[in-house]
Symmetry: C2
């Protein structure tokens, strides 16, 4: 059987940074060539970053992306890497707007492509057929679907090339891969992390490999891009469903593997719309590489890593030198501070305690303790003298007065941001955000919300995991035990707790999971056994909070249904009962 040495480049591009992203591919190509690889495959759109959203409708942007491909080919050749076959993902265009026909989008002028580079030239190009337009994806809005399949013949093996969604759909390119009898199927992906996605993605790859009796090499991007976190986890599965190689999650990596593949069946006629390109690669000698199969850590560690990477990349890719956040002594801000320190180092994290008249002693001491455990920059700014003049002048009482406290804290954080260039982190969690339990322009200020997609019960879980993890490494647990143990409170009035206004978190998170993540109707949520009045109360809060969420910071998505791109609902909405 012919052997191909395949390298999968799990790169972390920045959207728009064509030169920097090309440099990442070059680095991966150097590593691949040094390891004796014949082919290097990147993730989807590795050259432009993903998703590019409506940048795909800008002719100037597309022209730059198109030019970047031959430039990369030439740089590979100039770097002495010309023999290596590099398959790189990128947008292509501008094309004539897609015209008419059923369900066409007249504005699309781009295609989502994979180009095959060798010896300083572009040898072939494949355009993605299936354009996902659900959940976080809007590809049908901006891309024109391709209709040709590409097969590369290398060392006697037929290698089919497809992009991401093409793998997920029955029929289409996959059917033709079967007919073309390819020995290897490479798939370029930009597949964002979500909890338990490995329980969907790997079985799919495995099923496709078995169905087509073909080795499937699945390459994914890695890194944070706004509210998406790409987790890498690139994998190679053979036609029996055996995992031959797997890259680690959440880090840039070049995975190299030797594949003994079925030679091309020379008797098979090419189906319509399949283009075959024959490439010559030099023979290598040397021993067969061992399998390199990374194992996934447990659920909580995966989630923690996703949040850390999402935060780090938002800060670094947007050019912030530091972050600032309020430390209340509570669990949410302690977990955010710990995430931030893990993401960018404690020396780039600035915590501010902002006690009010109603702040308890334990709040102050827990905030101090958090700062000390993590080793971040810390300051204390009491707010009582700033709040009172406002309360008095406006003669405020009740919620209107309570919110002034949160808003003065917002002013302090934003002033420190203006003065020192910090990115302000919003410390609220998904549960609060779901029901609108926060003060607009108060605790909701900030550009990035690390816990935006983390429900309260999971915040506690992650805090416990992070502390256990520290303990297992002999390090100081970053989160004070009392921040984990005490009943949550906004402390905007004496003796307040969250449960004055909200059902117990066990109930609340259960209802929210059903209503938001699983998109059940009110009746179906109640049918799960929750009290009907409580369901009505919670659903009412969620429906009325849409306008607040629209004005909030973005944050990393970790669930199947996150606020933001995933769940798009009207603000003006009067439910019918």
């Amino acid at each position: 059987m012919p052997r191909l040495r395949l390298a999968l480049a799990q790169t972390n591009p920045i959207v728009g940074d064509l030169a920097g992203n090309a440099e990442q591919v070059l680095d991966a190509a150097r590593a691949a060539a040094a390891a004796g690889a014949d082919i290097l495959v990147t993730g989807e759109m590795a050259l432009s970053g993903y998703p590019i959203e409506d940048l795909a409708s800008r002719p100037g942007f597309l022209a730059k992306c198109r030019d970047a491909v031959p430039t990369l080919a030439k740089r590979l050749q100039d770097a002495g890497l010309g023999d290596l076959v590099v398959i790189v993902g990128h947008p292509d265009g501008p094309f004539e707007p897609r015209l008419l026909g059923t369900s066409s989008a007249p504005t699309a002028i781009a295609q989502n492509c994979a180009s095959v580079l060798q010896h300083g030239h572009t040898k072939a190009r494949y355009a993605k057929h299936h354009l996902p337009n659900y959940s976080v994806f809007d590809e049908y809005r901006v891309f024109i679907p391709g209709d040709e399949l590409l097969v590369l013949r290398l060392r006697g093996v037929d290698v089919a090339v497809i992009v991401c969604e093409d793998l997920w759909r029955d029929g289409g390119p996959l059917g033709r891969v079967l007919e073309a009898d390819a020995g290897l199927l490479v798939v370029l992906n930009a597949s964002p992390f979500e909890r338990d996605k490995d329980e969907v993605r790997l079985p799919l790859v495995t099923r496709r490999a078995i169905e087509t009796n073909t080795t499937v090499a699945y390459v994914n991007l890695v890194g944070g891009q706004d509210d998406l976190v790409f987790d890498g986890d690139s994998v190679v599965v053979d036609g029996t469903g055996d995992i031959l190689a797997r890259a680690p999650q959440f880090v840039e990596h070049v995975l190299v593997i030797d594949l003994d593949l079925e030679p091309a069946n020379l008797g098979v006629e090419l189906p319509d719309n399949v283009r075959r390109v024959t490439l010559t690669v030099p023979e290598h000698s040397g021993t067969r590489l061992d399998r390199d199969v990374a194992t996934l850590p447990d659920d909580r560690e995966q989630l923690w890593n996703a949040l850390v990477l999402g935060l780090r990349d938002y800060v670094d890719k947007n050019g912030f030198s530091s972050v600032a956040l309020g430390l209340s002594g509570g669990i949410d801000s302690a977990v955010c501070a710990s995430l931030a320190a893990d993401a960018i180092g404690a020396d780039r994290v600035f915590g501010v305690s902002m006690p009010s008249r109603w702040s308890s002693d334990h709040s102050r001491s827990d905030a101090d303790d958090t700062a000390e455990r993590i080793g971040l920059h810390y300051s204390v700014e009491p707010i009582a003298d700033l709040v009172l003049p406002i309360e008095h002048q406006l003669d405020l009482t009740g919620v209107a007065a309570e919110n002034v406290q949160a808003r003065v804290r917002g002013i302090i954080l934003m002033a420190l941001s203006n003065a020192h260039g910090h990115l302000v982190l919003t410390t609220g969690n998904k549960t609060e955000l779901s029901v609108g339990y926060s003060t607009m322009y108060g605790d909701s200020v900030g550009g990035f919300a690390p816990l935006k997609d983390v429900p309260k019960l999971l915040v506690w879980d992650l805090a416990r995991w992070r502390n256990e993890h520290a303990a297992s490494l002999g390090e100081t647990p970053p989160i004070p035990e009392s921040s984990i143990a005490k009943p949550p409170s906004a402390e905007l009035r004496p003796g307040q707790t969250d449960q004055d206004s909200l059902p117990p978190y066990e109930v609340l998170d259960g209802i929210l999971d059903a209503y938001i993540t699983n998109a059940l109707g009110r009746e179906d949520v109640a049918a799960l056994g929750f009290d009907e009045e409580t369901v009505d109360f919670v659903v009412g809060l969620v429906d009325r909070s849409e306008w607040k969420r629209r004005q909030g910071a973005i944050g990393p998505k970790i669930s199947g249904m996150a606020f933001g791109r995933d769940r798009r609902l009207p603000i003006t909405y009067r439910p019918s009962h």
Copy 2:
């Protein structure tokens, strides 16, 4: 020639309010029947409101919409309106998720339908074929396309029924209308207002009427729904391109017209996938109705009306009793106050002047003058004593100190909102928003931004128009001349003007129009004759302000490219040069 009396119901639904929206259709049906109409046609999704966004993915919501159709049929019958043929738009579902096939969206479980009701029953249903997925539209995300054409035979005339986008595409249903030789084509629409859209929409309707040699009746919704404003402007055009009837813009209306139509060609065989349903309508006697053709007002009046309606419906549909806004004495807040008074009455508008140390005498007097001219509720809350303690405690200077003033004003407005239930209006204009020239959580606070899509030069134009309009009616011009005439300033430091930080507005708005509305690249903007450094400066500001815009209030769209649904760009983006 057979004569049909046709009624077009330009209703203003609230998304989700099935009972209230059905009531609007019933009211229109009563009016239509009283006028002797044979058929009543509503706008697209008149029963559910439009757009319903991801509500279309909720089985429970769809089931309620489905049930609302026979309920409406029965109510029409019970009201003695059973003879009237009512064609009503609504979502239908849940269906099995659309499966596979090219570019399919596995999550769609709904169709965008028009149902034909008569004598208490649903006689026929049409599902929209062409699902727009560009600009503000996301229909391909949530709907399954239909594939059958519907022709109703009434009084010997064939009446074809299609929905909105079906009219805009060559091929598809339109081609089959030609083959079916229909005498009348009715089109249910939800077509949002944008500037100069009448220059696109009417010519299209006219072209289709002439091409198919068929009378076309185009019915549009009216009203504000979040950032969209539907303008009505329903119209009937005959096969020679003659306008037979036209409804007024921006108001609910039932337009009734007599149409003498070609009888069905009995020799024509029905093409595949065309369903014909024969309905009997009673004969009417009586004289032929006169033409009823509304004329459109000029551009500025149309824009003003669009902004007023968008604001009114956001306030009323979301159940706010009043609005609050800061009155700085400047042009933007004066125009917002005037729009608000026109939308909901001055007695529901609360203006607050919040002078600082740096506020000029004319700012205070112009704010007073605005309040008096409009007759709104007015209060003055000086901010100096609230700002100083914050500045001193945090030792702030420069921009960090300047922004505290804007943020204390934000606190005041939000405190009044919390205390009295006002919706806070954000007074910033599109130019400011484009370049990020505002203070986050300061002047940007608020739930609705009336001028979000109005560039600065147009704000001045509209102010002048509104004053002239008042003068022509013998009323007090609402906007002080000095607010229009003086150089704009944020007044956050002594002697500040906008032009300390920004190019002259004539240049700035020109560049923004090219870069944002026309989506030109940097080079193409410069090629229009703008100074290259200025273009780079402005483009850089726009690109870096994406995160601010994501956290801002929604506001009515009036241009071809508004921030919000129209223009979807990454925050994390490093342009390549």
